[in-house]
Symmetry: D2
Subunit: 290 residues, 4 copies
């Protein structure tokens, strides 16, 4: 087949048994099209016997032209953070109800993906956040986030208190359960539950959303995508910073969390006809009678 994507990596939801069969079926289908198929090694360890080369996510740079993720939005978030430095485009296949990021149904994936491999797709770049934590002037942790970086009081009964700087300028002191720093992608996740706005994915912007803020006039604020955020912990008893709700790091008083846009965007491929607004209506039940 005359696709620009010669080598395709398949990645399944972590430890999901029901993904094994459709994943191998898709592998065979793609191999039958003359494409080289590799399988993420963590995914492979849960597959029965198969003949595809296994390769770790972190080793895919330069070797893989396209990654297809079978799972839910959470799986794609995790894969996207790891593959982001390598500029490998991603396709998301959902085993259940379609997600914001995994918008192809497992039932129709063969036809949809073969159309996409023939060039029938839409490219969408989405920004990630890069966060670093400094203590006593030294960087002690860093992580990417595709949805959000969340500073939260964790198990503590007291609010966090932190000072927020944007591009070096003082914004405010936040006293709240938490502070969400979200990408447009994350704006329909936790940020939305906490009262944040929806940001169209094409917008280069970051939104800061307080969770249950003490000050009732403390509202979500949207800043430019290239803003440099610094968050200084004034009170951080058992506070924690979480990245996409996946990894976390425990904060101490006077720690600084620096957040900015990651240099590389995630490149998502969608089938032609994909509509962000359609997904929004479906997920938020906007078409249901009330």
């Amino acid at each position: 087949m005359d696709s620009t994507f010669k080598t395709i990596a398949l990645i399944g939801k972590y430890k999901s048994l029901e993904i094994a069969e459709p994943l191998l079926k898709l592998a065979d289908f793609l191999a039958g099209m003359g494409l080289t198929v590799v399988v993420d090694n963590l995914t492979g360890s849960h597959l029965k016997h198969h003949s595809y080369t296994e390769i770790a996510l972190a080793e895919m740079g330069g070797k893989v032209d396209l990654a297809i993720v079978l799972g839910g939005d959470g799986t794609l978030l995790n894969v996207a953070r790891t593959l982001a430095p390598f500029k490998i485009p991603l396709i998301g296949v959902n085993q259940g109800r379609l997600g914001f990021l995994t918008d192809i149904s497992i039932e129709t994936m063969q036809r949809t993906i073969s159309n996409m491999l023939r060039g029938d797709y839409i490219t969408e770049n989405r920004m990630l956040l890069s966060a670093a934590i400094s203590r006593d002037g030294k960087q002690i942790f860093d992580s990417l986030a595709f949805n959000d970086v969340v500073i939260h009081r964790g198990n503590n009964s007291s609010m966090i208190e932190c000072e927020v700087l944007i591009d070096g300028e003082y914004l405010s002191n936040q006293r709240a359960d938490g502070l969400i720093v979200s990408t447009p992608t994350g704006s329909t996740a936790y940020s939305l539950s906490a009262g944040g706005p929806i940001l169209h994915p094409a917008l280069e912007a970051i939104v800061l959303v307080p969770v249950a803020p003490h000050n009732l006039s403390n509202r979500p604020i949207v800043v430019k995508g290239d803003a440099q955020l610094e968050i200084l912990m004034h009170r951080a008893d058992e506070a924690r910073v979480r990245f996409d709700g996946h990894t976390h790091f425990d904060l101490l008083r006077d720690d600084k969390v620096s957040i900015s846009r990651y240099i590389e965007p995630v490149c998502l491929l969608h089938p032609r006809g994909h509509s962000y607004y359609h997904t929004l209506r479906e997920k938020l039940l906007w078409n249901q009678p009330l």
Copy 2:
């Protein structure tokens, strides 16, 4: 002096050194009026030499006619939970900015309190919540709460999931950061930050307020004060229940939290002229130009 309150207990903010002097001054003033003054023993342990009888909060039932608390609203909350079974009325004196509950200034306390002891006061009953936690059919913890009982995901990155029954009838499954069950007193505290309504203290009602709920149409609901609430934990990875943000208990899956109005209200005494709405305007900055 011809007061109905013969024996008066003085209780100071825990471990607060600056409360010592005004507390002893008030003690001397009341003793000078011919009243019997006792001092909470925890408070007493932080006072220098004094001649007043010390007595534990838990021993005050039947021995004390009135308790005067010097501290902030948090101190009064704690004292009120302990004294609630004894029907001892409470007066709150605030060392700093006046609170919702501690509405007498330390500067003017002598004159205000002597007027109140002459009968010039307003009585206000406020409801408390009584909560019990059951595991495998056995009650394993219980506590009172004056502000709120809060079930929260704590350090966990996943939402809590719990099933809420009101008077034995199924209300809904809650998926959220947390669920606040608040009295009218607590409605101006954490509940308000999470989007709950203000409940006038004279209202016999309980409000359930979700924190950052997954379902965007999940809204605060106000039920009658005599409602029997049961909350069954369907997902409780590191969930915790907190009482007035003071004590807490770690929950497990399938634990049941039962909450209802405590049989005895807290009786607060206010100086004549006290206005709840005035306090509300002051605390919420309603009179400030925007």
Copy 3:
């Protein structure tokens, strides 16, 4: 039939042609049970030939033991306001999707209602509001409201400004698009859209909900059902007060709107097994996956 309800009034949605057939069918069914059936005269004027006595809503007091409304919640609201002084219980039959108040389906109404007439029903009393408008010290308008009394800026581009007193005590000055004063029944209508809490119908309470308030710490406040509210218009350029979104009255500066609980509640009859929380879950889509 041995029902306590001997004479039953049938009332259909105003000017609705599709209600005619099921209404007459229900009339024949009830007459066949030996009950006396009368028809609201406005409804009757849209029926073809029928032999039932027609009677105006306002004349039903003392003559009718039960009123059955066929329509939606809006129809029942209107009927309830008119019948409220007469203490006539109401049953609501819905021609479409079940409502909060009209909870019997037109498809199953015969069986459900015959069970209810045999005594198999739940009685629920719901409070109404009574509102009066005074100008220059004279009352110039009054109305009942089952859902809400709403003061709104109408076509004007400026906010309304009004002063709110509760039981003669000053609450606050409101600057907003509008101010909603809602019963528990109305709490799931316009009030909910404006950010108000859900009030369980058994709660004797009134909620004041600002619409798009200028002051960001202005929040809904719930007061006791017997509270006396007075709203003084400080700025009322083209302001209007609306009652259940049905009738309205144009306000002028310095007008006073007085609102309190109406002396008679509306008595609703529900089929056994009726669940308020079930309706809530259905209407607010709480059971839908997001």
Copy 4:
């Protein structure tokens, strides 16, 4: 004086008498610096005798290098809409409490403005919206808006219902009191009261904020500044569209409101040291204890 601004227009708050004296004082001060001063003719008609050339706002294009507005934010909004096509930079002087746009105090204006005329200023471009209303395929009205374009039900008791398209793609049907389409500048005005986020002024973005939406999962959505919005009125009984709350136009069913970014931004000049976040903290009382 060696300023790049040779001819300076002074514009005062409409019909404001108290602006006359400081305005003429500023005029004399600027003239004393060797600059040419002209006065807006509407402003001039309320000044006593003066010797400055009067000129209509709409005639200032090409003749004026800088406009200084004395009044509040509302005055500057109005001036900005009229001057926007001419690319004349604006300075805002406030007679009362400083505004978001009028950030120079009348007390200190002489020193501040003379510093700015020496080059000591910050330039900030802010986007405006251009809106057009079409009926039966013909454009029948158009207007600029610096804050917001608001479609509102006006005096009608029913919600508006409209269909929103973004860049030709269907977003949703809106049923609400109104729909606010706001610039970053407008995000701290009416939009904020209705629950919208704060948008930093440097962000090229438009936010759509429903007012009291019927659907509880209907949330503010932020789209790119170059988005083309079309709003089709499905129900518009007495609906009205308002521009900056200043001008308005009555809508009919099937009218289309098209909104996009105006080609020219407004250019604001601020004194060095100006801080948007500082203004935000002041206006939203973020520094006040609660």
